[in-house]
């Protein structure tokens, strides 16, 4: 599904990713761990197409398509979803209005008619129930006055509504207490599907106790230096990153 080859990327002329290679297949869950400054969030930003991140070498294929040719919204239409580390507030715009605009943009890209209000509300309520969210949350402004945990849940909710193929969770676990972490993890597990892949970017082993990854990668200095099964996360927890930082 996603094939990243020898990716080099810079921010303001400073190289951050230095030859990153990663292969993700449909249905898989990959965890990407690594020390601060390793390039984890840069990877998420480059995948989503954020301005200011310059790819200097390498390629990214998403379902055979050159991802780097696409605008951020086109990547979204193609099925890429980024759960933000710091979701922004959009004052005065309700979750309903926001997701109506998003869904209809997706539908327009596929040549489909916009959803009517009844269809939209049915879909939103169904997904809210799935994530055990109070429906009143739909009428609130996007992320405005939300706690950290609420914001992260709102991201997962948006993911459920947009039904993406590839989900990137950028440190979704940071700042969550144990209850919120469980809720978010349960939601992600409920959305695991054979046609969907996840990339979980995280500092901590903690979230991987709830969402069991197929592959764990250690990212250091802009490259994947070590990959392994779920047990790797446990080893990291015990020994720290140091033993893994010398490339094998």
């Amino acid at each position: 599904m996603l094939s990243i080859r020898n990716l080099h990327a810079s921010v303001e002329g400073r190289p951050i990713l230095k030859g990153l290679t990663l292969e993700v297949k449909a249905g898989e869950v990959h965890a990407i761990m690594g020390p601060n400054g390793a390039g984890k969030s840069t990877l998420a930003a480059v995948l989503a197409g954020k301005e200011g991140y310059e790819v200097t070498e390498g390629e990214i294929l998403f379902e055979g398509q050159n991802l780097l040719d696409l605008e951020p919204e086109e990547r979204s239409h193609a099925g890429l979803f980024l759960a933000f580390q710091y979701p922004v507030e959009i004052p005065g715009v309700s979750m309903i209005q926001f997701l109506r605009a998003a869904l209809n943009a997706h539908r327009a890209a596929q040549g489909a008619e916009p959803l009517d209000t009844a269809e939209l509300m049915a879909l939103l309520k169904e997904k809210a129930a799935l994530l055990k969210l109070d429906p009143s949350f739909l009428s609130r402004s996007v992320n405005e006055g939300f706690s950290g945990g609420e914001r992260k849940r709102a991201e997962i909710f948006q993911m459920a509504v947009l039904d993406p193929k590839l989900v990137i969770l950028d440190e979704t676990d940071s700042g969550l207490d144990i209850d919120a972490l469980k809720i978010v993890s349960d939601a992600v597990n409920a959305l695991r599907a054979p046609k969907r892949a996840f990339i979980i970017i995280t500092h901590y082993h903690r979230i991987l106790q709830y969402i069991r990854p197929d592959v764990v990668h250690i990212l250091a200095d802009g490259r994947v230096v070590h990959s392994g099964g779920p047990e790797l996360a446990l080893q990291l927890e015990e020994k720290g990153y140091e033993p893994f930082l010398t490339p094998a």
Binding site: A48, G49, K50, E51, E71, P72, E73, R75, S76, H77, F81, L82, F84, P87, V88, I90, P91, G92, V93, Q97, F98, L99, A101, A102, L103, A105, H106, A109, S141, Q158, L162
Partner: protein
């Protein structure tokens, strides 16, 4: 290479003014210039009662002694008042005012059709009574008979002077005196038409009353005068809309609006102002220099809502004098400026009565090279015990060549008053646009969504029928500001 956010935003903001067409109508004009003879001409042309000549001449004499004010946060070249026409009327109206909608000149009807204001009996807007004002005169008023059955008077100011001179005489100039300020004095001297509303005691007006102002003639100023009286316990919701043709020279619009809210009444006044803003280089456009004020008696409420997207310069401060105890004043404003537009707008809340309350919510949006200023005054007099004010003034900047300014003046002379002020300035940030893009929403649409959200609190106060229009107008005014 992707365009930068600023480029995108700027593109979004550059769309042609849709209402800029001009119609060829046979005009009756007063001679050019301004002097006592012209004022007498207007007075006699309009068949006004004698007290009006006195009112106009006093205003004119006061005006001559005044200086054109230039304290607003913006600039314009002095206006040549002698090089303009002070009375312009389509001949078909001026010679014989139409008695019914069917008698309206088809040319004039076509103008209003193009503006989406049908004046045909079969097609008039449901639920809204419209007074259509073209240049200096009212050309038609819909639903007049139906309103009259309830004792509600809704007609042009000219008709009011003809049919209800005593009512007009009693209230005209009581809220905005003839010598209030330079432009109000000019208006008092030469005003030609406008709307008049009287809602009798205890009557709740069942329709939205609306006036649509259109400037068509060349080199004319438009000086409309609106007077709304809500008698005890009455309620009325009134809306004005305005457009003008595109012209390379500036046009002066100096209106006066007076609201009289008698005890226990409620007047809701909404404006969607879309005068021609001038072109991208700042040529042409309407100077919108307006005095709007209301007096709220005991337990009365006055609520101003305005969406200001047009005009080269807007200079207006819809105000409320909270004279009666327990009276309430509100001001909800969205002001959008783009290209070279300048807006200096805000409100005055003058607390005189006890337990008076006021609320101010102002949302400024600036783009292009424009300047957007909020200027407001909250004044609490010594006897206004327990006065309360809450003000919120937010500014949103699009691009980096525009300016936003806030001048909130507060004068409190009573220790029991509570006055709160909040202000924010923000940009439509890349983060928020990227967030929308990531969810699949293209930038242009994202900007509309964000701006609508930003203005939500104000738009929610517009009558439902007009909120949709206002949203569209906002989107159009800012189109091309993001790419």
């Amino acid at each position: 290479m992707q365009p930068t956010q600023d480029e995108v935003l700027t593109q979004h903001l550059t769309r042609e003014y849709e209402w800029g067409f001009e119609a060829e109508l046979e005009q009756e004009l007063a001679p050019k210039g301004l002097n006592e003879e012209i004022i007498e001409f207007i007075w006699s042309k309009k068949n006004e009662p004698p007290f009006m000549l006195d009112f106009r001449l006093r205003a004119f004499r006061a005006w001559k002694e005044m200086k054109e004010p230039h304290w607003l946060n913006g600039r314009y070249d002095p206006i040549d008042y002698q090089n303009a026409y002070y009375y312009a009327a389509p001949k078909s109206v001026s010679e014989n005012r139409p008695k019914s909608l069917d008698e309206v000149d088809p040319e004039i009807r076509r103008i209003f059709d193009r503006l989406g204001i049908p004046l045909h009996e079969q097609e008039i807007l449901a639920g809204v009574a419209v007074d259509a004002v073209l240049d200096s005169v009212s050309v038609a008023t819909t639903y007049k008979e139906r309103l009259a059955q309830m004792g509600i008077l809704f007609c042009s100011m000219s008709e009011a002077l003809e049919n209800y001179p005593d009512l007009v005489k009693k209230y005209l100039g009581t809220v905005v005196p003839y010598n209030d300020n330079f432009f109000a004095a000019l208006n008092s001297a030469v005003f030609s038409d406008g709307s008049f509303v009287y809602v009798p005691k205890g009557v709740r007006c069942p329709l939205e009353l609306s006036t649509y102002f259109r400037i068509n003639a060349r080199n004319t100023g438009q000086f409309e005068r609106t007077l709304i009286i809500a008698d005890e316990g009455a309620y009325v919701s009134y809306l004005e809309g305005c457009t003008a043709p595109k012209r390379s020279e500036h046009q002066l619009h100096a209106a006066v609006v007076e609201l009289v809210a008698l005890p226990n009444s409620y007047i809701k006044y909404s404006t969607v102002q879309n005068w021609y803003p001038g072109d991208k280089e700042g040529r042409g456009g309407v100077f919108n220099f307006v005095t709007k004020r209301g007096i709220a008696q005991e337990n009365a409420k006055i609520s101003w809502t305005q969406v200001e997207t047009g005009s080269a310069i807007t200079w207006k401060y819809p105000s409320v004098i909270l004279k009666g105890d327990n009276s309430v004043g509100e001001f909800y404003s969205v002001a959008v400026t783009n290209n070279h537009q300048q807006a200096d707008t805000g409100t005055k809340m003058i607390h005189i009565g006890k337990n008076t309350r006021s609320r101010i919510v102002s949302k400024g949006i600036s783009a292009g090279k424009s300047n957007n200023t909020y200027r407001g005054l909250v004044q609490v007099s010594p006897r206004a015990d327990n006065a309360r004010n809450f003000s919120q003034c937010d500014s949103l900047l699009i691009g980096s060549d525009c300016g936003a300014h806030t001048f909130p003046y507060v004068e409190v002379k009573n220790p029991t008053a509570i006055v709160e002020h909040e202000a924010t300035t923000s940009k439509i940030g890349e983060d928020i646009l990227f967030y929308c893009n990531q969810r699949g929403i293209p930038t242009q649409e994202a900007v509309e969504l964000i701006i609508n959200g930003y203005c939500q609190e104000v738009l929610a106060h517009l009558p439902l029928e007009f909120a949709v229009e206002a949203r569209k107008l906002l989107a159009i005014s800012l189109e091309g500001s993001v790419g």
